[in-house]
């Protein structure tokens, strides 16, 4: 299954992307997807441009843009260090993001279905959600006992609001016919929440998770610039201090690949969870 549409499409409001994803399990099972050469063409052009510009700059004795071959060498040599860094970063990202999803979905479903809780929470959310979470980083590091805890907290805050707000939007968007059916079937409040509102909100929840995961990565790498002794953001910062441009670029590329991989995992999870959408 080639998915040229990423989960970000949904985050950006492309509802068609959801429909395409949902249609795929059936379509992909029955006929092979034709080979798409267009993305590869773009990669080739970009690589060529990179090589060309790097050669040009290098001829003038400027080290700022090392050519691809040099970067790939640096990448290969740094791979052990990068893998350790990935692990260290994931130990921050995964718990922070997981907590944000759990809290955001749970509170979002409650606030989205209980008018009273909504009235209590929404004014606060309106003020707190738009605060750029990066401003919490120095404070969190100063207040919390370990760097790991501070970074996890900041990732949590950054990922929480998009998940919460999208979950609320999803709960508010539950179709009237589903609500009527739940009432006619005599569902209890809890049954209504977990059998109707939660599944009906999943498209919104996944959009929120995509945005939240993106924020999570940004906050993670920024936090690592402040006080980590390992990790992806820390790797790039460390070699920047030495002016080691090949390793810096290698670290940037590698971080891109990790982010892409995480988004792909989320993408797959969404495809599986939303198979029933047409």
């Amino acid at each position: 299954m080639t998915t040229e549409t990423s989960i970000l499409d949904a985050a950006l409001g492309d509802t068609g992307a959801i429909a395409r994803h949902a249609a795929e399990p059936n379509a992909a099972a029955s006929r092979p997807v034709p080979f798409a050469w267009e993305p590869w063409l773009l990669w080739l052009i970009l690589l060529g441009l990179w090589q060309g510009i790097a050669t040009l700059i290098a001829g003038q004795g400027n080290p700022l843009l090392p050519p691809p071959t040099v970067v790939f060498d640096a990448l290969w040599l740094s791979l052990p260090e990068l893998l350790t860094g990935t692990w260290s970063s994931l130990l921050i990202l995964a718990p922070g993001f997981a907590l944000a999803v759990a809290a955001g979905v749970g509170l979002g479903l409650l606030a989205g279905t209980s008018p009273r809780l909504g009235r209590a929470l929404f004014p606060f959310a309106k003020v707190a959600a738009p605060v750029p979470p990066t401003v919490y980083i120095p404070y969190a590091i100063a207040v919390l006992p370990t760097f790991h805890l501070s970074a996890t907290f900041v990732v949590f805050v950054g990922a929480f609001w998009p998940v919460f707000q999208n979950t609320v939007a999803g709960a508010h968007a539950v179709e009237g016919r589903h609500r009527d059916n739940a009432r006619v079937l005599g569902f209890s409040g809890f049954e209504y929440l977990h059998k109707v509102v939660f599944p009906a909100s999943l498209p919104h929840i996944f959009s929120g998770m995509a945005v939240g995961l993106g924020f999570g990565f940004i906050l993670l790498t920024v936090a690592e610039l402040f006080g980590a002794n390992a990790g992806l953001g820390r790797f790039v910062q460390y070699y920047a201090d030495f002016g080691d441009y090949p390793r810096m670029v290698a670290g940037i590329l590698y971080t891109g690949v990790v982010t892409w991989a995480a988004m792909s995992v989320l993408d797959r999870a969404r495809e599986r969870a939303l198979f029933w959408l047409r």
Partner: protein, 265 residues
Amino acid sequence: MSQTANAALRIERLRFGYDGTPILQDIDVAVAEGEFLALLGPSGSGKSTLLRLIAGLESPGSGRVLAAGRPVAGPGTDRAVVFQNYALFPWMRVVDNVAEAVRKAKPTLGWPAARTQAAGHLNRVGLTGIADKYPFELSGGMQQRAAIARALALESPFLLMDEPFGALDPVNRARLQDLLIEVWQRRTPRPTVVFVTHDVDEALLLADRVAVLGASPGRIIAGFDVPFERPRRRAALFGDHRFHELREAIAEALDADTLARLDAA
């Protein structure tokens, strides 16, 4: 007309409006236990609204709805509803959609037993081998059968249906009409049915009695007993002069209402 004092369903001087706009006015209806009432009327006359009031999904502005002698205060599993738009939960397997209703009818039943019974209900409406599918894998007609199976699984004394066959092709519609009558007759005691339609022929084929709603605001402008013996066959009905007289009388009532509204405008 069976305006008996101990009607199963009774609507008294009911008024209802959305945001001050009157939608229904002076509605008085009594339906005997086991009776099949068709609600007929032009689009916008408030048929769905009246059905929602009986279901308890809306509350009356004034007047009241009594089901089995008790005022309706909200939705309840004693009144099963089939909506027009095959409202199964799309994220649940078909069998689980029905099993939810089975569990409400028999709360002590475990899930495996509820699923088995749900499959039985699906078989009874002619759906075999699709229990584990999801609604999107079913045609519109099959989804509507499943919705009927779910309503029947509640085993409720009242069955409320809002244009349940409105979106179906003629062949499927005829099949489901026959199926509905069959299951309605088989159940003892027979459920009391309120069936909304704007198809006069459908009303005369299915119902014991037809109540005609006029529009703006919605009120009952005529009532007709439908005298045909059951089982009814379409060909026989079309050959029956009473069928054509009834059709004509209903059309006249609807026309008179439309003309009155045009005059008023």
